[in-house]
């Protein structure tokens, strides 16, 4: 038994070319040591240079280097990977010399974290899912590329129109954090609201209720038929805001939601918030929430709802794809803007939460950032957008893209709800800006407890305001404000 550390490699059969290994082993000391000592090394040791840019032409407005490799990492979630693979094929067709490396994972952060630290991230990332990398941190640490060149480039279908002019309202604004630069492009377009079965409502001989009194009446009627009024993802109560926040906006006006996003003192103590909390609490108190709901996860609650155990479900438009296996064919899936309180609400019935989902980013350290943006430009073209919509039953950031394809019931209802809402679309940002506050504190410890009957609305308001104040004071978090 020898005693040199070279034996390490030998013993495991790695001994080939020991010399190289040994020098590499020295390298292993040097790289982390660099990031150790130089407190702000901007690239932690990756040696390769960025791809040179190619010639800008009408067909290649971003100047993609035809021969450069492009790497695209997709979040493999509810939308699957097919839509992106199709878009990659277009890229490969347009740049036949380019090698494209496409991969999909559910563990975005564990997979990509080392690459960011090494200064060697991929060229395009769909930064989504439970292991989403914190966008505020990425922006704050200058890890993302400004997408303005993409937005100002001619669109894929019409050279006279800029990409930014083909997008749905609000998409560009959502991609900003501070100032004018746009860091994130949300590719999917999500309609949030109250999801229900038209067939079940018809069987009750009811319309979707517009005031809370009507809501309670419908729930009472449903209960007589052995059906609960509501269920929700009890284990992830941050699904409740999907209908609660736009209701607050409808009752008290946009300012209330903006104040909440801005973490203003006493934002949650606004009467509109309290009134909406009380309305929801009434659902619990009257026994209109499906029994056992606080112990259900999102899939379980969606399945119970799809099986007709409950009438209403707060959710986003991905539910149609996610629960496709359990939603019966004659369900008549529909979404409505949330029910308000009554005639004194600030905004009309139809006020809706709709915003971007699936955040795509191009890292600042990408070797071939132009390629990543070009891939996005392709995806924002009408053909790719239609492909997405027909495959995964969801809209994209591309404004339009629904002509000529058969819309599924939920999607159709979502489009109708958007049309009805017109300008009355709200977009609370708190879930992007302060993830821990939104999910763990407001969602689980506040709303979840209230809907399980363990907090009164007044207590919930006080607790949540406390959480918001705490977050506002926390200097380790970057704070954002509505413009």
């Amino acid at each position: 038994m020898g005693s040199t550390s070279g034996e390490n490699h030998e013993s495991a059969g790695v001994g080939r070319r020991d010399l190289i290994r040994r020098s590499a082993a020295l390298g292993l000391v040097s790289v982390p040591a660099t990031s150790f000592l130089s407190a702000c090394a901007s690239s932690g040791g990756g040696g390769e240079d960025k791809a040179e840019s190619g010639e800008r032409t009408a067909k290649n407005p971003l100047g993609v280097n035809d021969g450069a490799r492009m790497e695209f990492v997709l979040f493999d979630g509810g939308f699957g990977t097919e839509y992106a693979e199709d878009a990659v094929r277009i890229y490969e067709k347009n740049f036949p010399r380019a090698e494209v490396k496409f991969s999909a994972t559910q563990k975005i952060q564990s997979t990509l974290q080392p690459r960011f630290n090494q200064g060697n991230p991929p060229d395009l990332i769909d930064n989504s899912g439970a292991e989403q990398m914190d966008m505020g941190v990425l922006v704050g640490k200058n890890q993302l590329a400004d997408l303005t060149p993409l937005l100002d480039a001619p669109s894929y279908d019409d050279p006279d129109k800029k990409v930014r002019d083909t997008l749905r309202p609000g998409i560009v604004e959502m991609g900003r954090f501070d100032g004018e630069k746009v860091w994130v492009l949300y590719y999917a377009y999500t309609v949030y609201g109250v999801w229900y079965s038209q067939k079940a409502l018809d069987a009750l001989d009811e319309q979707y209720p517009q005031t809370w009194d009507q809501m309670l009446a419908v729930c009472a009627k449903a209960r007589k038929k052995g059906m609960a009024g509501w269920t929700y993802a009890g284990k992830y109560p941050y699904y409740i805001p999907f209908s609660l926040y736009p209701m607050i906006g409808k009752v008290g006006g946009r300012e209330v939601l903006d104040a909440i996003d801005n973490l203003e003192p006493n934002a949650w103590k606004h009467p509109a918030v309290k009134a909406c909390f009380e309305a929801y609490y009434e659902l619990y108190r009257k026994g209109y929430v499906l029994r056992g709901t606080p112990g259900l996860d999102h899939i379980q609650s969606q399945t119970a709802w799809a099986r007709g155990k409950a009438l209403f479900l707060p959710n986003g438009s991905w539910v149609e794809n996610e629960s496709a296996n359990v939603i019966p064919a004659d369900f008549g899936l529909a979404v409505s803007a949330p029910t308000g309180l009554g005639s004194s609400d600030k905004l009309p019935f139809g006020t809706l939460w709709a915003s971007g989902g699936e955040p795509f980013v191009v890292p600042a350290g990408a070797r071939n950032g132009a390629g990543g943006m070009e891939q996005l430009r392709i995806m924002l073209g009408e053909a790719a957008s239609k492909n997405f919509t027909s495959k995964v039953k969801s809209l994209t950031a591309f404004d339009g893209g629904t002509d000529g394809i058969t819309l599924t019931p939920g999607l159709k209802s979502g489009v109708a709800a958007l049309e009805k809402a017109g300008d009355n679309v709200v977009n609370p940002r708190i879930q992007d800006w302060y993830v821990q506050l939104q999910k763990e504190k407001i969602g689980v410890a506040g709303l979840g407890e209230m809907m399980a009957g363990r907090l009164t609305p007044a207590e919930a308001v006080r607790k949540i305001q406390g959480f918001a104040d705490e977050t506002a004071r926390d200097t380790s978090i970057k704070h954002y404000k509505h413009a």
Partner: protein
């Protein structure tokens, strides 16, 4: 004896220690270093912040909650698991009825059947076990509540994981369920190795099975019990409790922080909030707690070694 001793020691330690230092200690030291910085985990930039993260941790209410839950895990899980495992192993090996002309102590009928069956959960990855039970605990249509309804207990339909008073215990029950089996096999192998004469002598002294267990069986198994205790405690503080809490609980970590354990909080800070440095700080606290736990068990458990 002295001749070549140090060469031998060095030769035997070099490879394992080298490998360990390279892949475990060195990365660990680097991450501990990060606890004195404001590293986000998402970029190579960071600055030194001294003890800032540690001060913040001491003021962090959620940290204290997670510490309490972790300690509870580390105490209750080994206690219940080892007690159950010892009980089952003793039953299997000494619970049988005496028969004419047979040994003084016999196992129950079907002893090896039990040993096989009890081991089953151990072959499943903890992630799978957690998913299975998350499903069973579903208050609406899960197996547990369906069973309760089936036997006429319609009124008793707990929320299980949705109830802050029950959630932590539900999670612990799953860990006990999945870990008992291995220790039954381990202990019963140990018990089978205890010479029958020792039991006979004890029985001659008029001891019943309970006193036999405490006077003969337990002392002879003590080393195994102690190692098992440390192993389980570490599992409870670390990897295993993370998987179950992460997969099964509300939020995860809820409802209302009732199941937040340290290792989950580490994960959330590092992988959700982009605060890797702070996560590392909590990781260091976890390291301290675990070492203290292991030291306490080893010290409290030190006994005269019985040779037989």
């Amino acid at each position: 004896m002295q001749h070549g001793k140090y060469r031998f020691i060095a030769g035997f330690l070099a490879v394992p220690l080298g490998l360990y230092a390279l892949f475990v200690v060195w990365p660990f030291i680097q991450s501990i270093y990060y606890s004195f910085t404001d590293w986000t985990g998402l970029s190579p930039e960071f600055e030194m912040v001294g003890f800032g993260n540690y001060e913040r941790m001491l003021d962090d209410e959620i940290f204290w909650k997670s510490l309490r839950h972790s300690l509870l895990f580390a105490l209750v899980l080994p206690l219940v698991t080892i007690a159950l495992a010892l009980f089952f192993a003793f039953m299997i090996n000494a619970g049988g009825r005496k028969r004419k002309g047979g040994p003084a102590v016999t196992g129950v009928r079907g002893a090896s059947f039990y040993q096989i069956v009890y081991f089953f959960p151990q072959v499943l990855s903890i992630a799978i076990v957690a998913l299975l039970f998350a499903f069973a605990y579903n208050p609406d249509s899960g197996a547990v509540n369906s069973l309760l309804r089936g036997i006429g207990l319609d009124g008793v339909q707990p929320l299980w994981l949705g109830d802050p008073d029950l959630a932590l215990w539900c999670v612990m029950a799953v860990l006990v369920w999945s870990t008992v089996g291995f220790f039954v096999v381990l202990f019963s192998a140990g018990m089978a190795s205890i010479p029958a004469e020792l039991y006979e002598a004890a029985l001659l002294d008029g001891a019943n099975r309970v006193t036999t267990f405490f006077r003969v069986t337990l002392p002879l198994l003590w080393d195994t019990v102690q190692s098992g205790w440390v192993y389980l405690g570490i599992l409870a503080l670390g990897a295993e409790s993370f998987a179950v809490v992460q997969i099964m609980t509300t939020g995860p970590g809820g409802p209302d922080y009732s199941t937040t354990v340290m290792v989950l909080y580490v994960y959330q800070k590092a992988f959700r909030d982009g605060q890797a440095a702070y996560a590392t700080t909590i990781g260091v606290a976890l390291l301290v707690v675990t070492l203290a736990f292991a030291a306490a068990v080893m010290r409290l458990g030190r006994r005269e070694r019985l040779e037989y």
